[in-house]
Symmetry: C2
Subunit: 419 residues, 2 copies
């Protein structure tokens, strides 16, 4: 194992032992400390960010990448605002539940406790450094962060601010540690450092998630990949359906809960598809159509026949696959086979069909008559979001503070032995 | 991938889709069907088991292994009784929780749903086949089972009975499938068959758990390995402590929640250690002592100096490591460093020490004044047990029906779009 990782791992374990018994007030004081230090060190942080931007331009990063990398006063203020928002959220640690007294007098409860040390691997956006740090501190976890090399200077300056803020609040500065080495091989070491790290969160594209899952011996929260469906049933209210489809596809097309595949019941398709296509044309959405949909949209300038991959693609752009189906059953079968089980919706006024869809579609979030874009920690009322899980264990869908915890069984006795 | 695994995987996926929407009554009918078929086919099952026993004797299996492999009328009746017990337990599927109505009118709930397809890898005890099958059916999961080759005939006969019982109750016979191939390489394929299997449960020793964790791309429930501690504090009630230590060590020494390490406060050690040693001598428990404990127990015939590994060993036998410590803090430090965080206990009459121990020891089960032997699904009131998890994600400690489920978010709207 890389020496740096070994050292950070030992320090993180020690910090985690302290963190797991800290009271809420101390953790909030550290969070407030971080918000303050971010403001005090603004000039240093922006200077470090400028170094990354200069290097990024020199190595030919795209404008979109440079935009994601950019920090400015407003973005730093927004980070501080997010921290204060996390301060205001309830502390999940210490909650007790499922309590019972057994016939033999043993008093048993489950008590919510931090997971321990969280390993996070992320790509260019430096705000993730502060975002994850705040969520981990509030939930009593230590973290080891591995950011992208494009943001190395920015991340180092932000991690230094986080450490200083922790100390100001009485939390060990080793609570949140950034890996400095940029060696690629270190990531593999990190994924198998099960003696130091209890959970891995990859934040990035499908390639990163897949790499983490294939190489880790530590549990990995995989997610974020969404091939999302809307099925417009024959009874759908056209006036609701058109804006929902537009919102799901257009409001932010680059994210995982954006719409990818529109399934339309054959009996409503001739009426609704031209209206939807016209509406989506306002945003220049390209339509990749199965033969029946294409027959209806033949004259639409942005409609073309779908290729073989189009019903299995997360577009992350203004492209939508469209297919006509003959029944709810055909829609359910299509979703079962092609969905990544992130977010899928039915638009219907038929009560029984709404019930069947919510019963039978097995996705992290299942919708009736609403946009798939709501699958998000803030939108679901969790107050924050550390990741969206599309795996089935531990947590599903948006993950926030509570999902960064586990529980222990606390058993209070008075001399009981097992018969 | 092995063709057999591929075929079973596809069938399991289809069965899982049926199983996840079955009502409780149908699932219970299938369980009752299995109990009946076990009785009807008793002669065939025992004949198959006799084949395994004959082969086992020929290949030189130990008497202990043969004993674990043995089926007889009483054991089959006990399996049927266990099935009827699972019928009586509540169905976890369909439970809704964390419901809320958002300001925009969206109605959001979490709904408990099955995990999907469970892969189980286990060793010689054939009752696991029926045990896991029943728990999976009740919780709406399909399962692919890989048993040990010593029990191949018994497992095949039992799996056939399970399939017949399922059909009798109206549940697809592919709900529970046994892998017939005995190729070792198939296990690796199984651990990476993430397109078909959603969770892996290894049931066996540390080697199997480790192999699964290192090779799987599917989430693995690791557990079952316990280096368990009891700390006798200076204020402990000697009359309670002696029977607790005896019970934790002796009542069933071959299991994971049995006691391995006894830590004793220096101020009580001279009084209590000789009494404990004398009590444990009734069961011929060997004591491996640190120098201070050995100084106290010098004349005890079963006490000897501990070797370097003795405080990091799960003995699974009538051996106990013993160490004298000077304080609660030293005990906490020792447990932090040496425990597998399965089950650890303090024996004390000091309220503040009891609180500190339960706050600071981060094990799946933390006890005050009770035997570690209680860490068990039935003892904790879960009614059954599929595994004991010592990992931190998804579930910790005893896992039963609810721990074989996940949840989905169900979102009911009326035209909402994200602003």
């Amino acid at each position: 194992m890389f020496a740096e990782l070994e050292q950070l791992g030992k320090q993180a374990q020690r910090a985690a032992r302290r963190l797991r018994t800290l009271d809420t007030e101390t953790k909030n004081r550290a969070l407030e400390g971080i918000a303050q230090v971010l403001r005090e060190r603004q000039a240093d942080i922006l200077a470090a960010n400028a170094e990354d931007l200069t290097a990024g331009r020199a190595t030919g990063l795209s404008e979109a990448m440079l935009e994601r990398l950019l920090l400015n006063e407003a973005r730093l203020q927004s980070m501080a605002a997010d921290i204060r928002h996390i301060i205001a959220l309830p502390d999940p640690v210490g909650e007790t539940f499922d309590g019972q007294t057994l016939p033999n007098g043993l008093q048993i409860t489950k008590r919510r406790v931090p997971i321990g040390v969280i390993g996070v691997i992320y790509e260019s956006r430096p705000n993730v450094t502060v975002d994850i740090a705040s969520l981990c501190i509030k939930s009593g976890n230590a973290a080891i962060l591995r950011g992208g090399k494009e943001a190395a200077c920015s991340n180092a300056a932000l991690a230094e601010a986080v450490a200083a803020g922790c100390e100001r609040g009485g939390v060990p500065r080793e609570a949140i540690q950034l890996i400095r080495s940029q060696e690629r091989e270190l990531v593999k070491d990190m994924l198998t450092a099960d003696q130091y790290i209890n959970m891995i969160i990859p934040r990035g594209g499908a390639g990163l998630h897949d790499f983490a899952r294939r190489n880790a011996t530590i549990p990995v929260i995989t997610g974020g990949i969404g091939i999302c469906h809307i099925f417009i049933d024959e009874s759908a209210d056209i006036a609701k359906a058109i804006p929902i489809v537009f919102n799901a596809k257009v409001q932010r097309p680059t994210v995982c809960n954006a719409l990818d595949v529109l399934l339309v019941h054959a009996s409503i398709a001739p009426r609704i598809l031209p209206a939807i296509a016209a509406d989506l044309a306002r945003a220049q959405v390209e339509l990749r159509c199965d033969p029946r949909a294409h027959a209806i949209l033949r004259d639409h300038p942005l409609a073309k026949p779908a290729g073989p991959e189009d019903f299995d693609t997360e577009f992350l752009s203004l492209v939508l696959a469209v297919k006509v189906v003959d029944s709810l059953d055909e829609a359910l079968d299509h979703i079962e086979q092609h969905s990544t089980h992130h977010s899928d919706a039915i638009l219907t006024e038929n009560y029984s069909h709404a019930m069947r869809f919510t019963d039978e579609v097995d996705s992290a979030a299942v919708y009736v008559n609403a946009s798939t874009r709501f699958t998000d920690g803030s939108q679901f009322g969790l107050g924050a979001e550390v990741a969206i899980s599309t795996q089935r264990l531990h947590a599903r869908g948006p993950m926030a503070l509570r999902e960064l915890t586990t529980y222990k069984w606390v058993v209070l006795g008075d001399g009981q032995v097992r018969p």
